[in-house]
């Protein structure tokens, strides 16, 4: 059972303290949602967990390995993958080729194994019929699916999703929820940052709310959403 642990995380950009005193433990069996108002530090936490940025203070462990100084590609090899809030496909490549990049470069697969992993990822993301389409011809939902497929092709143990639900119609969002539930059912740990709370609550078994760089609530999703401190973070104090 893979366990991702962040301990005493702080992140400063110059004088600006974006994360402070973050302690969080994530297991592979969980589907965790992260919410919080704008500027709470959600995406920065994701960047620290995935290795896109180094924390100013604190450690990140994957299983018992200290990965704090490892790069994002190195962490991907260990089974930790992320998707981006704004899809970043390789525009000149097809859907299949994009997934193949994930399988080979992040997953470490070669030859037939890489092709199999890429195809399985495309299928899991519901993109089989689009496999030979150039990525630059895809609409927003399919670009988001491709983010997912490329990450899945590396056969991750824990998947970090950054605002993958924004801008979708209700039907598209329902599709996405179904896909992510299936992935979780296959034993992939899910950490999903999303500001569209009602979509997130269909997947998350545990909810973390951040505000001003700190975790202010962590636990049962309905309890977190009913927490007065969470309400205050979003909508101000009750008069």
């Amino acid at each position: 059972m893979t366990i991702l642990t962040a301990t005493g995380i702080a992140k400063n950009f110059g004088a600006l303290c974006v994360l402070e005193g973050i302690d969080v433990t994530i297991t592979q069996s969980e589907a965790i949602g992260i919410v919080g108002p704008n500027g709470a530090g959600k995406s920065t936490l994701m960047a620290v967990l995935s290795g896109a940025t180094a924390p100013t203070k604190g450690r990140v462990h994957l299983d018992s390995v200290d990965v704090t100084r490892l790069t994002a590609p190195q962490r991907a090899h260990l089974g930790l993958m992320r998707t981006h809030q704004i899809p970043k496909p390789f525009l000149g490549l097809t859907v299949f080729e994009n997934a193949l990049v994930g399988a080979t470069h992040a997953g470490g697969f070669a030859g037939d194994a890489a092709h199999t992993a890429a195809l399985a990822a495309i299928e899991a993301a519901g993109m089989t019929s689009l496999a030979n389409r150039p990525a630059d011809s895809l609409g927003l939902l399919d670009r988001k699916r491709l983010e997912l497929a490329r990450a899945l092709a590396s056969r991750p143990r824990i998947l970090l999703l950054d605002e993958i639900g924004g801008g979708l119609t209700d039907a598209e969002a329902a599709d996405l929820v179904h896909i992510i539930r299936c992935l979780h059912g296959q034993g992939i740990g899910i950490v999903w940052i999303e500001h569209i709370v009602h979509i997130l609550l269909q997947v998350a078994q545990r909810l973390i709310c951040m505000d001003a760089g700190r975790i202010i609530a962590d636990g049962d999703p309905r309890a977190v959403m009913a927490d007065p401190q969470v309400m205050r973070a979003y909508l101000g104090a009750v008069a």
Partner: protein, 238 residues
């Protein structure tokens, strides 16, 4: 008759559909609080009403006239002024010069530099200071004053409190009180729900580009607004 009528409005940012077939009308004298989470489309909607963003489909009528294709300055000349998110003052011009720019559309009315200074007393000593050297609260006061100098029939205030300390927010609202009760029609975005509930006569909640709740404030308890804000509960989705 409604002062502002938005009909089947669609606004896209590239592939992102920020406003989804939204219709709403605002009557003379209303103070509307526009409430919604980040990314729900508040600023996009307000910028489109003011002419700073283009509609992909749908129409905007102001005082019965179709203004959908009019540029922002033509809308200001018709009495529709926006105080944009982030204030957007001219930093190398003085407070007075920024205020005077608001009057260039030459609309008749009572607003003058003196009246703005009387309304926002924190600007009196700063009237010759460069806007770029002002504090956040002074900048917001100047931006609101600049919009008022056009003697608007509809004043739109985006993110009144953003980036201001609680004390300064109190000062801005204390100064705004006279405007809020003057009969000027106002649409404002305020993240502090308790404050929005105090100053507005009507609540509109946006959720992912659609209206999730639209009620007189007196019939919009905090629980209903919260449910609409997060898209939770039943019957709140538009």
């Amino acid at each position: 008759m409604s002062l502002l009528q938005v009909e089947s409005l669609d606004i896209r940012h590239g592939q992102f559909r920020a406003i989804k077939g939204l219709s709403v009308s605002v009557t003379q004298g209303e103070v509307v609080a526009l409430i919604g989470a980040n990314g729900s489309g508040k600023t996009t909607l307000l910028r489109c009403i003011a002419g700073a963003a283009r509609a992909t489909a749908g129409t905007v009528h102001f005082k019965g006239e179709d203004i959908t294709a009019l540029p922002a300055q033509a809308r200001v000349a018709r009495g529709l002024s926006l105080v944009p998110e982030g204030r957007r003052l001219f930093p190398d011009m003085s407070v007075t010069e920024n205020l005077m720019l608001g009057a260039t559309c030459d609309r008749p009315g009572d607003w003058s530099v003196e009246r703005v200074l009387a309304t926002f007393p924190n600007l009196v000593k700063r009237r010759h200071a460069l806007a770029g050297a002002l504090s956040g609260g002074e900048q917001q006061a100047t931006a609101i004053g600049r919009a008022l100098m056009a003697n608007p029939d509809l004043l739109i205030l985006d993110e009144v409190s953003l980036g201001l300390s609680p004390l300064v927010v109190d000062q801005v609202y204390a100064s705004l009180a006279a405007v809020l009760t003057s009969g000027t029609t106002i649409i404002l975005v305020e993240q502090d729900l308790a404050r929005a509930m105090r100053v507005a006569s009507r609540a509109i909640c946006l959720l992912e580009g659609s209206i999730a709740l639209d009620r007189p404030m007196a019939q919009a308890p905090r629980e209903a607004i919260t449910a609409a804000y997060f898209g939770l509960g039943t019957g709140v989705r538009a």
